[in-house]
């Protein structure tokens, strides 16, 4: 069939690669227009599988359009546009290209109908994201970018191994429901898990995102983890393991977030926490929970992006991002402050803000499944997320003590990007039916029941009360400029220890071999072979003397041997015997060499 459209990822990727040819205003206009054109292109594509080409014994599908891929496609375009708007001032070719291609790769991945296409876009995500980190051009960013790349290459290889085994075993490369069971499925599962920042696989996220450029982090926070969520929703819905993984993801990062000083790192931890809710939703696997996971991904892209934008604006104007350095900025940056509070209210799931209408779906799905422990963990995480992301971020940046910093309000394009995001957060929160109509399963879910609104408001107000009392009682932990070790210790310090151990062990062997074999042995051998016959006799005689204990005439005898061998005054028979013995010794040496 023929349709008047291009494959969904093509415009952003090709357009992104053409960006270096443009300059100034034209480049800015193109960067803004690319997501718009790409979106209009997407709207032209009817539901179904398009751009199907034969590949090996199978086929590749560049455009699988259904409800699940479409909602991710829509929000990815929207966020790509908002990020481009926020990054309008950036006149750095690396970032301009990497950001656009990165968004394109994410869109390509969610519309991929087969695993090979998915894998190619998956790797393109990694490469372009690495450039967004490296573009900060600091030593720390260089290290973080390198680690990011290594971890994702490992994850990508794991995914590839799974794909190859899967295709061999099933004979099909179609990317559909896989389900956990076979070896191949485990490889794919873990490969996706790396991108999804599962516990222990997660530190690339909290390591790299706060080290990326101000605008790069906005792009980064959007695409990699949400593409992984899409892949899980497609291939592993209802997998029980995901419930445990997601529960852990929702719970553990909030502890780190409380004691973290770098505010962008606080947001990185809360990003893992939010993705945990989505993973749980996919793990439960009912229509309600999958809808909740997808809706929460949609909302998270907006409010997490908004929060990163506000912190980016603070960093852009003040050059600082540590809680110890900031405070009192509400006077200098009132708009940024207001948008930050909207983002904070959304992530905390206040009624009338976007998080409320999606997080509650996952919670309700857990309650309906009578998973009480999970429900408690999620409720704990809901209270905790308000505590660290909802209160800590705005409070320490904009209120708290007066840091003495006076700066200008964020530039207009940043304010516009933040303003649109904030407006959408409120609109979705007030009119969730538009979001619900895009979800993969039809739903008549109603988030605004009195019970539910009252419960959530109580939870949040008393979390705020806890914060207030802890702060005023002087128990709230001090903000300290420091570093909190995480699972990346294993490859940052541990890796170095392994390296050191190897260095010690192998260099030791090398040294020993060098000393004993290369230096001492050759010296001795060469000394021995200066007078091989005489030395043979001498050592043989010495051995005899030492073992038997007869040592009369020993020195005299040795001298005699010396003289005889130097003069070569042997009788013929003795000479031949010596020669044979030396040859035997030499061949023995050669044999064992």
């Amino acid at each position: 069939m023929t349709i008047n459209a291009l494959p969904p990822a093509l415009i952003l990727i090709l357009g992104g690669l053409l960006v270096p040819l443009l300059k100034g205003r034209t480049r800015q206009a193109v960067l803004l227009l690319l997501p718009v054109i790409s979106f209009i292109n997407l709207l032209q594509i009817p539901v179904g599988s398009h751009w199907v080409f034969p590949f090996l014994s199978d086929q590749i599908v560049l455009g699988r359009i259904d409800k699940l891929s479409l909602i991710f496609g829509y929000i990815f375009h929207l966020v790509a546009f908002l990020s481009a708007l926020y990054a309008l001032h950036v006149n750095d070719t690396v970032q301009n290209v990497a950001g656009t291609v990165y968004a394109g790769a994410a869109i390509g991945a969610v519309f991929a109908g087969d695993m090979f296409t998915l894998f190619v876009f998956w790797e393109l995500l990694t490469i372009s994201a690495t450039f967004l980190i490296l573009a900060r051009r600091t030593e720390k960013a260089l290290g973080a970018g390198f680690r990011y790349f290594m971890v994702h290459v490992a994850g990508g290889l794991c995914l590839l191994a799974g794909i190859i085994i899967h295709v061999f075993q099933t004979g099909s490369a179609a990317f559909d429901l896989i389900g956990l069971g076979t070896t191949a499925s485990w490889f794919i599962f873990i490969g996706i898990g790396v991108n999804c920042a599962w516990p222990l696989l997660h530190p690339w996220l909290t390591d790299a995102y706060p080290e990326a450029t101000i605008t790069g982090t906005i792009f980064l926070s959007a695409f990699t983890t949400k593409t992984a969520i899409y892949a899980l929703a497609r291939a592993f819905p209802g997998t029980e393991e995901l419930i445990f993984i997601g529960g852990a993801m929702a719970a553990f990062p909030i502890f780190y977030a409380v004691i973290e000083n770098d505010l962008r790192r606080v947001l990185a931890y809360s990003l893992i926490n939010q993705v945990g809710f989505m993973v749980v939703g996919i793990g439960i696997g009912t229509a309600l929970s999958i809808n909740g996971a997808v809706a929460h991904a949609f909302n998270d892209l907006l409010f997490k992006g908004l929060l990163f934008m506000t912190m980016g604006a603070v960093m852009y104007r003040t050059g600082k991002i540590n809680a110890t350095d900031l405070g009192g900025l509400y006077k200098s940056m009132p708009w940024t402050c207001a948008f930050c509070i909207v983002g904070a209210a959304s992530i905390s799931a206040f009624p009338l803000f976007s998080g409320f209408v999606s997080k509650s779906m996952v919670m309700e799905a857990a309650a309906l499944g009578d998973m009480r422990w999970l429900w408690f963990i999620l409720l704990f995480a809901s209270a905790g997320v308000f505590h660290h992301a909802g209160i800590k971020i705005p409070f320490f940046a904009f209120f708290s003590h007066d840091s003495g910093i006076r700066c200008k309000e964020a530039p207009p394009h940043m304010l516009l990007a933040m303003g649109i995001s904030a407006l959408l957060c409120i609109l979705i929160g007030c009119f969730p039916q538009y979001l619900y109509s895009l979800l993969p399963y039809a739903t008549d879910y109603e988030p605004y029941t009195i019970s539910h609104v009252l419960a959530q408001t109580e939870l949040l107000f008393f979390s705020a009360l806890a914060f207030t009392l802890l702060l005023l009682a002087g128990i709230y932990p001090a903000e300290i400029r420091s570093l909190n070790i995480d699972a990346d210790w294993f490859y940052r310090k541990g890796g170095r220890q392994v390296y050191r151990f190897c260095q010690w062990a192998f260099d030791g062997i090398n040294d020993w071999a060098n000393r004993t074999i290369a230096q001492k042995m050759t010296k001795r051998l060469s000394r021995f072979f200066e007078e091989p016959g005489g030395n043979f006799q001498k050592y043989g005689y010495r051995l005899l003397v030492e073992t038997s204990g007869i040592d009369k005439n020993y020195e005299k005898m040795e001298k005699q041997i010396d003289i005889r061998s130097r003069m070569a005054t042997y009788s013929v028979g003795a000479g031949v015997l010596l020669a044979v013995m030396i040859l035997a010794f030499a061949s023995l040496l050669l044999f064992f060499r």
């Binding site: 110890t324 350095d325 009682a473 128990i475 400029r481």
Partner: protein, 53 residues
């Protein structure tokens, strides 16, 4: 180009200077209130779960 450089500068958070620690001093009278609240809270939760689990 100079504009570009200027933006580059802001990309580097100056982590060298600035205070090492930002402590939160206690306000008089709040500590007992806090202790009372948390004790009541834990006892009440324990009661609720004892009745319903």
């Amino acid at each position: 180009m100079s504009k570009h450089k200027q933006h580059r500068k802001h990309d580097h958070a100056e982590k060298e200077d600035g205070p090492m620690i930002l402590d939160h001093a206690a306000v008089d009278g709040y500590r007992p209130i806090f202790y009372i609240c948390i004790t009541i809270g834990i006892l009440y939760l324990a009661f609720v779960f004892w009745r319903t689990w």
